[in-house]
C-alpha cells in the first residue's frame, strides 16, 4: 500500500512532456459528431435509458444449437460429390435404380454423419472458449455507488465498470479516472499490436476526481461518438458532463483485450460492447481455408463428373439402339424380355424416353467413378496426421510445457507447399526481451557475450574451432535454462566482463567516463521503479524493453536506480572513493522525450553538488553530429565498435553528456516552458527546436549494445528454410532500425545485400505534413512511393545482368499504405518478389493482412503467416496457413491460427518434415483413391457391353456400396497416415539439394520426391 501512495504523488503526466500534449479541441473532426457515421449516443450510468446496442457477449463459433443442423447439412451438400450422392440417393428410391435404395443411402449417411460429428466437436471446443471469456467477471456499478462483480456478457453500453490491476478490459471503455490523481493509467496492448511496452492513457481532467466508488452515485454523462469501426488508433467523440462539452480522443479510450498494468484500478464507461468493440471489428470472420490439393481435387472430381456423364451418355445411346432392335415390325427378338409388353423404361416403341431414363440409371450405376468416401477419408487421414504432429516430441517446448497443436487439420499437406512465409517479429522471431550484452566506453569495448548472429556467422564460416566453441556455449546456455539454479539469470542483462563487474571498473583507465556512462544509463530514462517491500529488490516498469535493460544493467554494475518522485531520481551508487554504496539524489529538471524523428532522449538533472548536466542517449545517426569538438576523443574507436555491434545484430545507442551552466539552463528552460505552453498548432515543432538547441556540444561517453534476443535456433531455421527455397518476409510493427537489426541478426539480411528502403521521411513530405493539407500529403506521398518503387525496380533490372547481388526491400508502414493501393500494388509486389528478403516495418494489423493477401493472390502460391499477438490475427487468417506461436502472450493468435507451435524454429520440422510427408501422403492417397474408383467404375461399364447396356451392375449392391467406403479405403488410409518416402533425418539435413515440394504445381522443381509423379497424374486429369 505504501508503494501505491508513493506513486500516487507523482503526476505522471509531468514526465511525459510530449506524449500527452495533444489534447483535442472541439473543432475540426469533432464537428462531425452527430452526423453520418458518428451517431452513437451513450448515456453513462443511466440504467433506465433504453439503448439498442448489442450486449457484451462474443461468439466465435460457426454454428449455434439451432443453426447447426441446417447449416452444417448445407455445408456438407455444398460439396459437389456429396450433393451428387444425395441426388443419387433420392433417385435410388425410384424404379430407375440399378441397385437397392438402402445401399445407396447408407454410405452417404455414414459419411455425412461422421463429418458432421467432427464439425460439431470442433465447434464445441470454440464454444467452451467463448463461454470462458463471456463469463469472466468485472466490477460494475449497480447504483448508489456500489460496485459488484458481474459477468462480462451482462455488461451494457453506458455501464460504469471498475477494472483492477492486471485485468483485461471487458469492452471498449471511456477512461474516467484511475488510481492516479491525474487519471492516467498504463495499458498493455500486447493483444492488439503485439507491443509489450506499456502505453499511457489519460482521462479527462473533469472526471479525474471520481476516484471513489461512491463518486458514481450521481454521476451522469452523455457520450456522443463515432459508430463502431475497426480503426484501433482513432476515436472521435465528445463528453457532455455537467452541461459542458469536452472533446474525446483515442487517449481516453481503453480497448477491449488490452490489459491494465501498473495501475491499481480505473473507472470507465462502456462505449462499445461485444461485437462493436474495435478489436472484434478488426477481426475478420475466420475464413474456411481449403488446401490447394483439395481445390485441385475438386477439379478432378469435376473431370470425373464429365467422364461419368460421357460414359452414361454413350451407354444410353447404345442401350437405345439395343432396345429399338428388340421389336422388328411387331416381331419380338428377345422374346424372354417381352418387349411387346413393356414399361416405359424398356419400351422399344418409346426408345427416346427409355434412353433418357436409362441415362439417369447409368448416372447412378457409374457413380462409382466418384469416390464417395474420398472427402471423409481425407478428413480422417488429416486428423490422424495432425495427431502425429501434435505428438511430435521434437516440437514440444519444455519450458512452457507446450506441444505443437494442429487446430485445424485441413491444411497439413499445404505445409509442404509453402512458398512464402510472412512472419511477425516481436515474440515470433525474438523473445521480445532485450538484453544488455556489450558496451563501448571511452573507446574500450566491454562485454564477452556471444550474440546469436555471431554464432550464426561462425557456423557459416565453419571453422571447426569456433564451431566447437559455439556448440559449447549453446549447450551451456541450454543447460542454463534448464537448471535455473545454477546461475540466476537476470532478465535483460547478459553482460559478462570482469573488468567492469563487481566494482572492478574503478581500476580501469577511464574510470570517470565509466562512472558517467552508467550514471546516464541509470538516470536518462522514463522507467518507474517498484521496490519489493520484503526483499528490497527493485524491479522496473519501462516504456520499452530496451530501457528496462539499461536500467537493470546500470543496477547490476552498481548504479541502482530505486526511487522516482515528481522532481527527482534517487540512485544508489558505488562510490569509488569510499568503496561503499552511496545514495545520490538527482533533481530532475526536464525530460526531452524520445520520438522517432528526434531519435534521442535527454534529461536535464541537477546533482547534489548543484551541477546541472544534460544526459543524452540516441541513435548514432543523430548523436555523432552533436558532439562537441572536445568531446570527440573516443569517436573513432566508438564508431568502429558501433559498426561491429551493428554487424552482430545488436541495437546500439550512443551515450553522451554535457554540463550546463546556470544561465544557459535558465535560458533554455524559459524557452522550453514557453514552447510547452504555446497553444499554436506548431507547438511540437517549437519544443523540438528548443530541445535541438540545447542538445549540442555533447561529450561522447560510449555506446551500448542491446541484443533483441532471438528465439532459439531462429537464424538456423531461417537459413534452412531459405535453402529449401522458401521466401521469408518480416512484417513488424517495429521501427525501421529495429527491424533492420533483427533482419541482420536472424540471417534475413546479410552484409553485402543491397538494401532498398522505401519510406516517406523525405523533408518535403514532412513539410507538407506540418501544413496539414491532407490531399496534398497523400498526393505527394503517393508520387514519392511510386517513384521509389520504380527506381528500385530499375536498379534491380540493371544489376540483374551484372552481378548476383541480392536485394532486400525494406518499406515502412506509411509508404506501405500507398504501395498497397490498387494502382500500385502490382508494381510493389513485382519488386518485392524479386528481392531476396522483404521487411515491412511499422505496419498495422490490417496492413499485415493486406500484404498477406497481396502475396497470396499475386503469386498464387502458398503463403504461411506466423505470429504470436492479436495484431497478427488478420494476417494469420488471410494467409493460406496461419501459424500461431503459443508463447507467453495472449491466446488471440493461437485461437485464430491453424496450427500452433511454441517456438519459431519448430517451423523447420513442421514444414520440411511434416509438411513434406503430409503432402506426399495426401497426394498419393488421392491418386490411389481415384485409381481404385476409376478402375472399379470401368469394370462396371465394360460389363455393360455384355449386358446389352441395360444398366445391370456387375456386382452385388452391398459389395458396390461397401467397396468404396470400407473394403478399399482402409489400405489407402493407412498409406495416407503412415507412408514415408524418406526419413525425417534425411528431410532435415538434405533439403539443400532437395528443393522439396514447395513448388509443385508450378512445375519448377522436378525430382527429389515423387511429387513430380503426382503432379503428372494431376495434370493429366485437370
Amino acid at each position: 500500500m505504501r508503494g501505491r501512495r508513493r506513486m500516487r504523488k507523482i503526476r505522471l503526466s509531468k514526465i511525459y512532456s510530449f506524449a500527452l500534449c495533444g489534447k483535442g479541441t472541439l473543432e475540426g473532426e469533432h464537428s462531425q459528431i452527430g452526423g453520418q457515421g458518428f451517431s452513437r449516443v451513450v448515456f453513462c450510468n443511466e440504467e433506465g435509458v433504453m439503448q439498442n446496442y448489442s450486449d457484451n457477449s462474443v461468439r466465435s463459433t460457426k454454428y449455434t444449437a439451432v443453426s447447426f443442423l441446417p447449416k452444417s447439412l448445407f455445408e456438407q451438400f455444398r460439396r459437389v460429390a456429396n450433393f451428387y450422392f444425395l441426388v443419387i440417393g433420392v433417385l435410388a428410391m425410384t424404379k430407375l435404380a440399378p441397385y437397392t435404395a438402402v445401399s445407396a443411402i447408407v454410405p452417404l449417411c455414414v459419411i455425412v454423419g461422421a463429418t458432421m460429428i467432427k464439425e460439431g466437436i470442433e465447434d464445441w471446443r470454440r464454444k467452451t472458449q467463448d463461454i470462458e471469456v463471456n463469463n469472466r467477471k468485472v466490477k460494475v456499478h449497480k447504483g448508489d455507488g456500489v460496485f459488484e462483480y458481474t459477468e462480462w456478457k451482462n455488461l451494457r453500453v453506458g455501464n460504469i465498470v471498475k477494472v483492477e490491476k492486471d485485468n483485461f478490459f471487458p469492452a471498449d471503455l471511456l477512461l474516467l479516472s484511475s488510481s492516479y490523481e491525474d487519471a492516467v493509467c498504463y495499458v498493455e496492448t500486447m493483444n492488439l499490436d503485439g507491443e509489450t511496452n506499456l502505453k499511457l492513457k489519460q482521462g479527462l481532467d473533469v472526471t479525474s476526481s471520481l476516484q471513489d466508488d461512491s463518486n458514481f452515485r450521481d454521476f451522469k454523462a452523455v457520450v456522443k461518438c463515432e459508430d463502431p469501426n475497426a480503426n484501433l488508433y482513432s476515436f472521435i467523440g465528445s463528453l457532455e458532463f455537467e452541461e459542458q462539452k469536452y472533446p474525446l480522443s483515442p487517449q481516453q479510450l481503453l480497448l477491449r483485450d488490452s490489459k491494465l498494468r501498473n495501475t491499481d484500478y480505473v473507472f470507465g464507461a462502456i462505449i462499445f460492447t461485444g461485437h462493436d468493440t474495435k478489436v472484434i471489428q478488426n477481426s475478420t470472420d475466420p475464413p474456411s481455408k481449403r488446401s490447394k490439393i483439395e481445390r485441385k481435387m475438386d477439379r478432378i472430381i469435376y473431370f470425373l463428373f464429365c467422364l461419368l456423364f460421357l460414359i452414361a451418355f454413350v451407354g444410353s445411346i447404345l442401350f437405345g439402339i439395343a432396345t429399338k432392335d428388340e421389336l422388328d415390325n411387331g416381331v419380338m427378338k428377345r422374346w424372354y424380355l417381352r418387349p411387346d409388353d413393356s414399361t416405359i423404361f424398356f419400351d422399344p416403341k418409346r426408345v427416346a424416353s427409355a434412353a433418357i431414363f436409362h441415362f439417369l440409371t447409368a448416372l447412378m450405376l457409374y457413380g462409382f467413378f466418384i469416390p464417395i468416401s474420398l472427402y471423409f477419408s481425407i478428413e480422417l487421414v488429416k486428423v490422424l496426421q495432425s495427431i502425429f504432429i501434435n505428438q511430435d516430441v521434437h516440437m514440444y517446448y519444455e519450458e512452457a510445457d507446450k506441444p505443437a497443436h494442429a487446430r485445424t487439420s485441413n491444411l497439413n499437406e499445404e505445409l509442404g507447399q509453402v512458398d512464402t512465409i510472412l512472419s511477425d517479429k516481436t515474440g515470433t522471431l525474438t523473445c521480445n526481451s532485450m538484453e544488455f550484452i556489450k558496451c563501448s566506453i571511452a573507446g574500450v569495448a566491454y562485454g564477452q557475450g556471444v550474440t546469436e548472429v555471431e554464432q550464426a556467422m561462425d557456423r557459416k564460416i565453419g571453422s571447426p574451432l569456433t564451431h566447437e566453441q559455439v556448440y559449447g556455449t549453446e549447450s551451456e546456455s541450454d543447460e542454463n535454462r534448464k537448471s535455473s539454479d545454477r546461475k540466476t539469470r537476470i532478465k535483460g542483462f547478459n553482460f559478462t566482463d570482469e573488468r567492469i563487474m563487481n566494482g572492478n571498473w574503478v581500476n580501469e583507465p577511464h574510470a570517470d567516463v565509466i562512472q558517467k556512462f552508467f550514471r546516464v544509463l541509470a538516470i536518462c530514462h522514463t522507467a518507474i521503479p517498484e521496490v519489493d517491500e520484503d526483499t528490497g529488490n527493485v524491479s522496473y516498469e519501462a516504456e520499452s524493453p530496451d530501457e528496462a535493460a539499461f536500467v537493470i544493467s546500470a543496477k547490476e554494475i552498481g548504479f541502482e536506480f530505486f526511487k522516482r518522485t515528481q522532481t527527482s531520481l534517487s540512485v544508489n551508487e558505488w562510490d569509488p572513493v569510499s568503496g561503499n554504496k552511496v545514495e545520490r539524489m538527482y533533481q530532475l529538471l526536464n525530460v526531452l522525450e524520445f520520438n522517432s524523428s528526434r531519435k534521442r532522449m535527454s534529461v536535464i538533472v541537477k546533482d547534489e553538488e548543484g551541477r546541472i548536466s544534460l544526459l543524452c542517449k540516441g541513435a548514432d545517426s543523430v548523436m555523432f553530429e552533436r558532439l562537441a569538438l572536445n568531446g570527440r576523443e573516443f569517436e573513432d574507436k566508438t564508431l568502429e565498435h558501433v559498426q561491429q555491434y551493428a554487424d552482430a545484430g545488436l541495437r546500439t545507442l550512443i551515450l553522451a553528456y554535457r554540463e550546463l551552466d546556470e544561465n544557459e539552463y535558465k535560458e533554455f528552460n524559459n524557452a522550453f516552458y514557453e514552447a510547452k505552453n504555446s497553444v499554436t498548432a506548431d507547438q511540437e515543432t517549437l519544443i523540438e527546436e528548443v530541445s535541438n538547441k540545447i542538445e549540442r556540444n555533447l561529450i561522447l561517453l560510449g555506446a551500448t549494445a542491446v541484443e533483441d534476443k532471438l528465439q532459439n535456433g531462429v537464424p538456423d531455421c531461417i537459413e534452412k528454410l531459405a535453402r529449401a527455397g522458401i521466401k521469408i518476409w518480416v512484417l513488424t510493427g517495429d521501427k525501421m532500425e529495429t527491424a533492420i537489426n533483427i533482419g541482420f541478426s536472424c540471417c534475413l539480411l546479410r552484409q553485402g545485400m543491397r538494401q532498398i528502403i522505401i519510406h516517406l521521411d523525405a523533408p518535403e513530405i514532412q513539410a507538407l505534413e506540418k501544413g496539414g493539407d491532407k490531399m496534398a500529403i497523400s498526393k505527394a506521398s503517393r508520387e514519392s512511393v511510386l517513384r521509389q518503387i520504380s527506381e528500385a525496380a530499375l536498379q534491380l533490372t540493371a544489376s540483374r545482368g551484372a552481378s548476383q547481388q541480392a536485394f532486400a526491400l525494406i518499406i515502412d508502414g506509411k509508404s506501405l499504405a500507398y504501395a498497397l493501393d490498387d494502382s500500385m500494388k502490382n508494381l510493389f509486389l513485382e519488386l518485392a518478389i524479386r528481392c531476396a528478403s522483404v521487411i515491412c516495418c511499422r505496419s498495422s494489423p490490417k496492413q499485415k493482412a493486406l500484404v498477406t493477401k497481396l502475396v497470396k493472390s499475386g503469386t498464387r502460391k502458398t503463403t504461411l503467416a506466423i505470429g504470436d499477438g492479436a495484431n497478427d490475427v488478420g494476417m494469420l487468417q488471410e494467409a493460406d496457413i496461419g501459424i500461431g506461436i503459443s508463447g507467453f502472450e495472449g491466446m488471440q493468435a493461437v485461437m485464430s491460427s491453424d496450427i500452433a507451435i511454441a517456438q519459431f524454429w519448430y517451423l523447420e520440422r513442421l514444414l520440411l518434415v511434416h509438411g513434406h510427408w503430409c503432402y506426399r501422403r495426401m497426394s498419393s492417397m488421392i491418386c490411389y483413391f481415384f485409381y481404385k474408383n476409376i478402375t472399379f467404375g470401368f469394370t462396371l461399364f465394360l460389363y455393360e457391353v455384355y449386358a446389352s447396356f441395360s444398366g445391370e451392375p456387375a456386382y452385388n449392391d452391398w459389395f458396390l456400396s461397401l467397396y468404396s467406403i470400407l473394403f478399399s479405403s482402409l489400405p489407402v488410409i493407412a498409406l495416407g497416415v503412415f507412408d514415408q518416402d524418406v526419413s525425417a533425418s534425411f528431410l532435415n539435413y538434405t533439403n539443400k539439394e532437395c528443393k522439396m515440394s514447395s513448388s509443385a504445381g508450378a512445375g519448377s522443381s522436378a525430382g527429389c520426391s515423387t511429387d513430380s509423379l503426382v503432379r503428372q497424374w494431376f495434370s493429366s486429369f485437370a
Partner: protein, 341 residues
C-alpha cells in the same frame, strides 16, 4: 501466462507427448532399394514358381474330358430350317430329335450334363429384376408380384407363382441318353445350390397359375411339387452373368468307356431361333481345377515365362553394361537441366 480469471493450474502432469516409436513415426521400415541382385532374383523366383504351377493346372485342365454338341441347327430338318421360328412356336410339331456321339476317351463318373445357351441375355436388367424373392420363399406372400410385370398376374388377375420373366422363360429342352441301347439314368438331384433350396425357395410354395397365359414362355411346372424341389427352376433362376452360359442339367453317375456310342434323344422345345441364339449339350468330367479351362494355366505360364525372360535380360545387361548404384547423374534434373525453369 497472466490470464486473469483462469486460476493457475498446478503443473503436476506435463503435456509432453509420450515418446514411442509409433507416435514419433520412427518405426523401423523396410525401404527396399531395387538393386540388380534383388530384381533379378525376384524375377527368377517368380518364374521358377509360376511355371510349374501353370503346367500343373494346364495338365489338369487338359485331363478333363468334355464334349460339346450343338443341336439347335441339327434338330431342324430341311423344311423347318426355312422357318425355324414358326416351327418352334408351333405346339403341334414333333420336336424330338436324336443324335449320337462316340466317346473318344474314357470318362470317369460323375459326368456332368450341361446345356449351353449363347446370345441369351439373362443379365438384362429387366430380366434380372423380373422376379419376386418373397413370393418364392414364403407362401403368405403368394400375391406379392411386384417387379414381375408383365408375368405377374393371369388375365383373371390371379397371381402367378412363380411370377416374373425368369420363371416364365424356364428352359424346357430335355435329354435322354442311351449307351449301347441301355438307358442311362440322369441324376437331377442336387444340381442346384443347397442354400437356394433351403433359403430362397420355399418348401410350402407350390406353382400356381403358371404358364396359363396366351403366350407360353418355357417349361411348365408340376403344381404338386414345392418350389424347393423344382431344381431345374432353381438352377434357371440363378441368372447367368454373361450372355453365353452353361447350366447344369444333371449328372451321370456311371463311367463311359472309350468307343461307347451314346445316343441322345433331345426334346428341342426351347425357342432360341427368334433371337439367333445357339444351344449346346455339354458332357464333361471334372478335376480339382473344375471343368475344362486352360486360361489359368496359360496365365501362370505366361507370367512365369515373362519373368524368367526379364531375369535373363537383366543379367545380360548387368554383365554387359553395368551401372553404378545411385549415380546422381541419371536423375532427371541432372540429366536435362535445360528443361527446368
Amino acid at each position: 501466462m497472466m490470464e486473469p480469471h483462469s486460476a493457475p493450474t498446478p503443473k503436476k502432469y506435463s503435456k509432453k507427448p509420450k515418446y514411442s516409436k509409433f507416435s514419433q513415426q520412427e518405426l523401423p521400415a523396410w525401404k527396399p532399394i531395387l538393386t540388380p541382385g534383388w530384381v533379378i532374383s525376384t524375377f527368377t523366383v517368380v518364374g521358377i514358381v509360376f511355371i510349374p504351377v501353370g503346367l500343373a493346372s494346364l495338365f489338369s485342365s487338359e485331363s478333363v474330358e468334355e464334349a460339346a454338341i450343338r443341336y439347335d441347327d441339327k434338330c431342324l430338318n430341311e423344311i423347318h430350317a426355312q422357318n425355324a421360328v414358326a416351327f418352334i412356336k408351333n405346339d403341334m410339331t414333333n420336336k424330338t430329335c436324336t443324335t449320337s456321339w462316340t466317346v473318344e476317351r474314357k470318362m470317369q463318373g460323375p459326368i456332368f450334363i450341361y446345356y449351353q445357351l449363347d446370345n441369351y441375355y439373362q443379365n438384362h436388367r429387366r430380366y434380372v429384376k423380373s422376379r419376386n424373392d418373397k413370393q418364392l420363399v414364403n407362401p403368405a406372400s403368394e400375391g406379392d408380384t411386384t417387379n414381375c410385370y408383365p408375368q405377374d398376374k393371369t388375365n383373371g388377375s390371379m397371381p402367378i407363382v412363380p411370377c416374373g420373366l425368369i420363371a416364365w422363360s424356364l428352359f424346357n429342352d430335355t435329354y435322354k441318353f442311351w449307351v449301347n441301347t441301355k438307358s442311362l439314368t440322369v441324376n437331377k438331384k442336387d444340381i442346384s445350390w443347397g442354400s437356394d433350396r433351403s433359403h430362397k425357395f420355399g418348401s410350402k410354395v407350390y406353382p400356381k397359375n403358371f404358364q396359363l397365359g396366351g403366350l407360353v414362355g418355357g417349361a411348365k411346372l408340376d403344381e404338386n411339387m414345392p418350389l424347393n424341389q423344382q431344381e431345374d427352376l432353381i438352377v434357371w433362376m440363378r441368372t447367368a452373368a454373361l450372355p453365353s452360359f452353361r447350366k447344369l442339367y444333371g449328372k451321370i453317375e456311371t463311367n463311359l468307356e472309350v468307343n461307347d456310342l451314346v445316343e441322345i434323344v433331345i426334346e428341342n422345345n426351347y425357342n432360341t431361333y427368334e433371337f439367333g441364339g445357339n444351344k449346346r449339350l455339354i458332357l464333361s468330367t471334372a478335376t480339382w481345377i473344375g471343368g475344362k479351362n486352360p486360361f489359368l494355366g496359360m496365365a501362370y505360364l505366361f507370367v512365369g515365362g515373362v519373368s524368367l525372360l526379364c531375369a535373363i535380360v537383366f543379367i545380360l545387361l548387368y554383365v554387359i553394361k553395368p551401372r553404378p548404384l545411385g549415380d546422381p547423374s541419371y536423375l532427371s534434373w541432372n540429366k536435362n537441366p535445360g528443361i527446368l525453369k
